[in-house]
Amino acid sequence: MDEIQQAIKEQVEAHPVILFMKGTPQFPQCGFSMRASQALAGVGVEFAYVNVLEDERIRQGVKEFGNWPTIPQLYVGGELVGGCDIILEMYESGELETLVKEAAAKQDG
């Protein structure tokens, strides 16, 4: 596994809820990243994020890591949950809240 893949793996394992996005939750640089981070913020659990625009190697690397061709990508408990559509779908149904709260509680406990 190369250095970038290793770095992404470490990030994903270190944070129970982590969003790879374009820009930041405060200043998102893409509508899809904006909606994804707003849904997470709406759930009311702290989440980590990586601004992929700061490092082209991460931007490409995370696509390979998740075997997922687009950004944003949400990882919970080390597993890829999905991109913007799936995050929003799960937010609407309440599944997102359950999933991230369980993951956050595991981290605390």
Binding site: F32, P69, T70, L80, I86, E89
Partner: protein, 96 residues
């Protein structure tokens, strides 16, 4: 350019999945000028109805669609907004 892309998306969906219903909408104009649009790739929305999605999670359904799109996700498509439904789900959604 994007008309060709819409055709290509339709073809790839039909080739890979037993599609019963398919809508492909070019939404590139909604994103004109933003960072992702500058590389010239397009934004599209798809509604795909197929039995292939039965017993599959949203993640697995999206993967099937991304796999069907193949290299086009690199070369032609910046973003694909996906609705993936089984025929039963589609029927419920349209009658509800």
């Amino acid at each position: 350019m994007n008309e060709q892309r819409v055709r290509m998306i339709r073809e790839r969906m039909h080739d890979a999945l037993a599609v019963q219903q398919l809508e492909v909408v070019d939404e590139s104009h909604l994103h004109a000028g933003h960072a992702g649009a500058r590389d010239g790739r397009g934004h599209f929305r798809v509604l795909v109805v197929s039995d292939a999605f039965a017993d599959k999670s949203p993640l697995q359904r999206h993967r099937l669609i991304y796999e069907a799109m193949g290299d086009a996700m690199e070369t032609d498509i910046h973003a694909l907004t996906i609705q993936a439904m089984t025929p039963q789900e589609y029927q419920q959604a349209s009658s509800g």
